[in-house]
Symmetry: C2
Subunit: 309 residues, 2 copies
């Protein structure tokens, strides 16, 4: 452009939020999906699975947030290499846009082995940090044309290719598939599957009583033998011979794979990094959403798979 040329006026954009649909047929309605992944470790299987999603890629934007530490550097390099390859590859596979954020705070827990991060005394700080990372990613990447948010952890390595369409077809504000893990079962000497994510649950009177006795800042964690909550865990409801479309109402959700209508987040539902009704992060999110009038749902017989370390 010539230097004496008048710069065009900066962009003014006008959006009618009610023209933005979130329907059971998002492909036909050309609804945009923002896939958000907090990513500390890069798995090639995650990326390959993502590329196989049959939802039109031109309607999908990707957002990542990576920790600032050494693990984060390695993961960023691996992610960037794959992003560059995909975004310069066949048109049909390219995503609408990709945003990569590097966190500005250190992770409270550097050690990331499964055993270490699942220790009960490490959970509160770790899940508060995860909540902040999710919020940062969400607040920074959600735009005025986003219809759906798919939360997808970086260690989810296998889902049906029709994941987005299948979940959206239920037309729920918040919906979670059942997150399992493949493993070698020594008892039967065969490959087998087992539940992985225990944050998808229906509340119990016991858990409510435990909560009522707690201090304001205390959290009640799920999946620890030390504190049995008697909540009904979606992980334990799986029946491989039953209808994959079976729906259950949930009071707590996990974030490994979770489809959320953007309006739920827009109303203000985020991932509390503090005790919220004695819940934190994704479980607190389900509670906050319910206070905003949005119900969470789960599909006990529809599986996705978590990496096995």
């Amino acid at each position: 452009a010539k230097s004496n040329e008048r710069t065009p006026p900066p962009p003014v954009v006008h959006y009618h939020m009610n023209n933005l649909t979130t329907s059971s047929d998002p492909v036909t309605n050309r609804e945009t999906v923002l896939i958000l992944t907090p990513l500390a470790r890069f798995y090639q299987e995650y990326w390959d699975n993502l590329l196989k999603l049959s939802y039109p890629h031109e309607l999908i934007s990707l957002g990542f947030i990576l920790p600032k530490n050494k693990d984060g550097n390695a993961a960023t390099a691996a992610l960037q290499a794959q992003v560059a390859k995909t975004q310069s590859g066949p048109q049909k596979k390219r995503f609408a846009s990709v945003t990569i954020l590097r966190q500005d705070t250190e992770s409270p827990l550097q050690s990331q082995t499964e055993a270490e991060r699942h220790k009960i005394e490490n959970q509160k700080a770790r899940r508060a940090a995860m909540a902040k990372a999710r919020n940062s990613l969400l607040f920074t990447t959600m735009g005025p044309t986003t219809s759906w948010i798919l939360w997808l952890d970086s260690d989810i390595i296998e889902t049906p290719a029709t994941l987005i369409q299948d979940l959206a077809a239920h037309d729920k504000p918040i919906i979670a598939p059942n997150c399992f893990q493949r493993y070698y079962n020594e008892d039967i000497k065969m490959q087998d599957v087992r539940p992985y994510d225990f944050n998808n649950w229906i509340d119990s009177p016991t858990a409510k009583e435990l909560g009522a006795k707690m201090g304001n800042d205390e959290i009640l964690l799920e999946g620890y033998a030390e504190i049995p909550t008697y909540r009904s865990l979606m992980g334990m409801m799986h029946d491989s011979s039953a209808d994959p479309n079976t729906e259950v109402q949930l009071d707590g959700v996990g974030g490994t794979t979770l489809l959320v209508k953007a309006e739920v987040h827009r109303d203000g539902a985020m991932f509390p990094p503090f005790a919220f009704y004695h819940l934190i992060e994704t479980e607190g999110f389900a509670k906050m959403a319910s206070r905003l009038g949005w119900q969470s749902w789960g599909l006990p017989n529809y599986l996705v798979y978590h990496y096995n370390e």
Copy 2:
């Protein structure tokens, strides 16, 4: 472009959040400010005051959310006319970008006279709706390069031109000037000023006791003679002869004029549309921010002015 031309790869953007500063000298550091305004009524004085802000306009983005009702239609038309004029006018006055959102939900209270909207029985529904509007605007417009958010109500018609620089100079996570109103004082037969926004306050033992006795969903409102809270109101601390830089710590804040470091919102601090520690909307925001480790501050002797209906 020719139809056989290869489309360029879609955008991939990489942000290091720790390179994004929020400092006491934001102009020198070229920090971007997002001014967010929920707007039900358009005031020309608001727009004229906005244009007079001396913070470099190329570092300012504007975001508006307007209700879907008839008032909203009129306000949208008036706003768009001014936006179009400014964005095609002198380069120096133009803003970096402007986003205008129309709400998808009806306002619960159509009547918008000051008397009507301040009635105590209307406050909970009204402030929940305001909280959702603010969240929607925030979640939709905040981007990866936003350093500061300035909340500015559409009926704030007079501020110092150096408002942003002055507030940012205090280098606080959340900071509110004192929101006053000009009026004709019949007693002294002269123009005078009086406090307008009573949501900027320091908590009191009385208010804490009232809260402790309330049900989970009840809210404790400020500025109603029926329920004296004995909180210390910043509106009552103004001393025109004292230092305009005097700072006070606040426990509740209003949203008429409020400068917030973007990282506070990114951590997850939003405007609770439900009772949060018996607080809602902007007052609940201050409480949520404090739970995230961010303190609110006020400047009792630094004034901005609210329209007088």
